[in-house]
Amino acid sequence: MKTLIRITVNHEERELAIEPNMTLVDLLRDELGLTGTKKGCGLGECGACTVLLDGKPVNSCIVLAMEAHEREVVTIEGLETDEGLHPIQRAFVEKGAIQCGFCSPGMILSAKGLLDQHPNPDEQDIRKAISGNLCRCTGYQKIVEAIQSVATGTK
């Protein structure tokens, strides 16, 4: 039995009929074609599927799509503006924070979740905020540096 939900995805309101056991990540990827959200484990362990739910980073693989009813979801596809890349995206590109890129969408959204709350975090705050986002490629340093550069506005 499908259920009707109303959710705002990347600033656009949608009405969707979904199976009650569908996860948010599957809704985004399979139904809406927003494949920028990645799936690394499906168990809430890697953070690759991080999206913002009402502004807060969540692992969309362990959130049911129904839980997003009447709420606002932002995925990596929703960050760019008319001016181009979001400053966090730009910093990730410029600071070499992206290698394979599989963790990057989730990482960037966790960073956004942090910076929206605390525009001036210290290094430890940043490391804590992304500690649920696993990256096997970078050793995290250039990611931390990228987020720091946005926080302090340095280039």
Partner: protein, 791 residues
């Protein structure tokens, strides 16, 4: 150093904007029309005879389009090294580990496929399993592969120099045993693929792989198709680290299911299946005997090693060789003896992982060297400076150091860490340690015996002259190779990076052995450089003809044609170009002839301009059996100093700072080089402190997930000071060599040595979990109080 226009810079990666915005396509993002979903049936026993398989119920389930077992797959043996092809697609007599593939299903959706899998009836007869090296090698132990009675799948015995004579000359000889645990590559993207077999009999496999070329050959061989009818391509790959460096049974299953059903078939490993497929780092047990003179000169190294291989050989023959042949460097040693054994056990097969074969040997030996320095009363840094090789040296096993910045690396980490002030002077619980590393810049020979080029490349100029399109079959898996090769092509052609388009990772684009053994920068780099130079030469030939000036006075730089003999009247050429571009907005105006004009004129004269490049290493290595393993056109080296804090109450180790110096030849992209260093270190940190794939007594993997198999998070990693040491490697393109794997080498031993400095304790088993460290601290305290009582 030479002035470069493009390379040796910090250019942003060309794939980064797509990856930052979610545009980048990975294999799981592919959906083809009519696509089916596949699922695997895997053995629930570590060792079992397969008595009967009944697929009739599964086949009858609505929505199921194909069910395949060993009967359909044809029992062709495959593997990594042709000398040990010991796998078949699907078990046909017995299953050798919990997770061995029995059958596969394709259905209209994943739920149906999984349901069908559960409807396949398999009658097993459980067999006793061997799960440790001791059990596997015991007299009368159950045998995994009949050809290998005591489960020793591969052994190596090497002696270089006269080891007994060298030992006899030593003032100090030490023997220590060291053991690691099985590690998983744990790339964040699980393996996945989509196979698409069409009505003309051509197979296309989209897969997350490091090695499209080897996957193509394996698919063709196993499925009985001509190589030319199999195309393997990768999209962006979410990390490899060795786990994606060979063909996997899921890829073969998807292909076979697509051939049977006539529809595209998509398959993914779950995270658990990633662990069951395995192919991560072996568990190694090294017993090392090192002999030195009083002055610290290392004379002799005896290395005995046992590798717990799991159920199949995979890369294992190479691994067991590497664990010996790469250990001596970066030091001069008079004699070296190696005895290595790789043993089959009823667990997922181990394979190649970042730092293939060398990481644990290095950890064991660099810790032992520290112990020797201590006994001799020598600074560990000085011991290493005394014994290291230099440019031009040849190791006792015939490896030639065409460049080696070992001294620069050691001195850089020593000086930038304040080593002299800190070593031995930090308060209890704080420590500093150092170690060195050494690795190949690409394996000297392909995995299968062949005269093949290791890579080919093609640079095709667009007919308007504005874009150079580089095609290689190399594998961008996150390390940044597309950007590196784009930069090399731009440099060689003489144009800015944004005029280069890069297409890679597709067997249709040529031959490239792929991303393993840290080979691509050096090897593919050569092919790319040659291709770009050839395209450039063709443009210059045409310009020389047209302008009637000698070719050697014309050059291309930064997107412009430069004339070395002063001004040349090129107005005719420009007029011709403009005439064809009436109404266009981007026509050239300046005083200089542009590359675009030159390349267009070349097209008008010769048709499509295509430059071709290729590379094959020169013959390498000595005469002894196995001499090919460990050979490389060039060697990278590295040194690290690590500072730690050990909580003496809980045993928890915190890393405070890591200094890492790496000789990568000439750095093509400095940011990418640092990224490789930092990423390597984090994998070493995980292996040193907590990574261990665990099994119960039935052979069941206990932690096949990223919650219980812990890899480093941002909170586990300290600040890493990356120091790029540059030598000019004569056999590297623009002097470049490896960084992707060698950088991991010193990490574990530098941590071990720092922990010893902090606690006075030597650890001979990994990982250094709080429990292990806590127990050792308690034991030491007990001994010390016991000792005090006696005095």
């Amino acid at each position: 150093m030479t002035e470069y226009q493009v390379i040796h810079s910090r250019a942003s990666r060309i794939d980064a904007p797509d990856k930052a915005t979610g545009r980048a396509k990975f294999v799981d993002d592919i959906r083809l029309p009519g696509m089916l979903y596949g699922a695997l049936l895997q053995s629930p026993f570590a060792h079992a005879r397969i008595v009967n398989i009944d697929t009739s119920k599964a086949k009858r389930l609505k929505g199921v389009k194909a069910v395949v077992t060993a009967e359909d797959a044809g029992q062709v043996k495959y593997g990594v090294s042709p000398a040990r092809y010991d796998e078949t697609l699907f078990c046909f007599e017995k299953a050798r580990y919990m997770g061995d593939e029995i059958a596969a299903v394709a259905a209209v959706d994943l739920e149906t496929a999984l349901e069908a899998v559960s409807l396949i009836d398999v009658e097993y007869e459980e067999l006793p399993a061997v799960l440790t090296i001791q059990a596997a090698m015991a007299e009368g132990a159950p045998v995994l592969h009949d050809e290998f009675p005591r489960n020793v799948g591969a052994e190596v015995h090497h002696e270089f120099g006269d080891i007994q004579a060298s030992l006899a000359e030593c003032d100090l000889v030490r023997t220590d045993t060291f053991q690691s645990k099985k590690q998983d590559s744990a790339a964040i993207e699980p393996h996945g693929c989509v196979a698409d077999y069409n009505l003309r009999g051509y197979l296309t496999l989209h897969t997350a792989t490091q090695v499209p070329h080897y996957v193509q050959r394996t698919m063709a061989m196993v499925l009985g198709l001509p190589v030319g009818k199999v195309r393997v391509l990768k999209h962006y790959v979410g990390g490899g680290f060795g786990g994606k460096a060979s063909a996997n049974p899921m890829e073969m299953s998807a292909c076979l299911l697509s051939m049977k059903s006539g529809r595209p078939v998509k398959m993914n490993y779950t995270r658990e299946q990633v662990f069951l497929f395995g192919r991560g780092r072996h568990q190694f047990t090294h017993t090392l005997t090192t002999g030195v003179k009083k002055d610290g000169t290392v004379m002799a190294l005896k290395n005995e090693c046992y590798l717990d291989g799991g159920a199949y050989s995979s890369f294992g023959i190479a691994t067991v060789y590497y664990a010996g042949s790469l250990l001596g460097g970066p030091y001069k040693i008079r004699s070296m003896q190696y005895d290595g054994y790789r043993v089959y056990t009823n667990k997922p097969a181990c394979g190649a992982q970042r730092g293939h074969g060398g990481v644990i040997a290095r950890a064991a030996w660099e810790q032992q060297l520290d112990m020797i320095a201590e006994e001799l009363g020598m600074d560990p840094v000085d011991l290493r400076l005394k014994n290291m090789m230099n440019k031009g040296d040849i190791s006792c096993n015939d490896l030639y150091m065409s460049s080696l910045g070992m001294r620069e690396c050691i001195e850089a980490v020593r000086d930038q860490s304040d080593w002299k002030k800190k070593r031995g002077r930090l308060p209890k619980g704080k420590g500093i340690g150092m170690a060195c590393g050494f690795f190949v810049s690409g394996a000297g020979y392909p995995i299968y015996r062949s005269e093949t080029f290791h890579c080919t490349a093609m640079v095709k100029l667009s007919e308007d002259g504005g874009t150079a399109h580089l095609y290689t079959a190399s594998a961008e898996i996150g390390q940044g190779s597309d950007t590196t090769f784009g930069m090399i092509a731009a440099e060689a052609l003489g144009v800015p990076l944004d005029m280069i388009r890069v297409s890679s990772g597709d067997t249709d684009f040529g031959v490239d052995l792929g991303a393993y053994s840290s080979r691509q920068t050096l090897m593919t780099g050569h092919a790319v450089k040659e291709a770009a130079e050839e395209a450039k030469r063709q443009v210059l030939e045409v310009l020389s003809d047209e302008l009637k000036i000698p070719i050697d006075v014309i050059d291309i730089q930064d997107g412009f044609i430069v004339f070395r003999n002063g001004l040349v009247d090129f107005r005719d050429l420009r007029r011709r170009y403009m005439k064809e571009h009436r109404g266009w907005t981007d026509n050239p105006t300046g005083k200089h002839l542009t590359f675009k004009e030159g390349a267009r004129i070349a097209f008008l004269s010769r048709g499509t301009i295509i430059g071709r490049g290729k590379y094959r290493p020169r013959p390498l290595g000595g005469q002894y059996k196995g001499a090919a393993v460990g050979t490389s056109p060039a060697y990278g080296c590295s040194a690290q100093v690590v500072e730690v804090t050990v909580d003496m109450e809980t045993g928890k180790i915190t890393l405070d700072r890591m200094n890492d110096a790496h000789d990568c030849g000439v750095a093509i992209n400095r940011t990418s080089v640092e990224g490789q260093m930092q990423g390597s270190l984090s994998m070493g940190v995980g292996e040193a402190l907590f990574e261990e794939v665990k099994f119960d007594e039935k052979g069941k993997c206990l932690n096949p997930n990223l919650a219980e198999y812990k890899i480093p998070t941002a909170l586990d990693m300290p600040y890493i000071n990356p120091i790029i040491v540059e030598t000019n490697e004569p056999y590297g393109p623009y002097g470049a060599k490896e960084v992707g794997e060698g950088a991991i080498m010193p990490t574990i031993p530098a941590i071990l040595n720092a922990v010893h400095d902090a606690t006075g304790i030597r650890f001979h088993e990994l990982p250094l979990t709080p429990e292990r460290v806590f127990m050792a601290i308690k034991e030491k305290e007990a001994k010390e109080t016991g000792g005090d009582d006696q005095t």
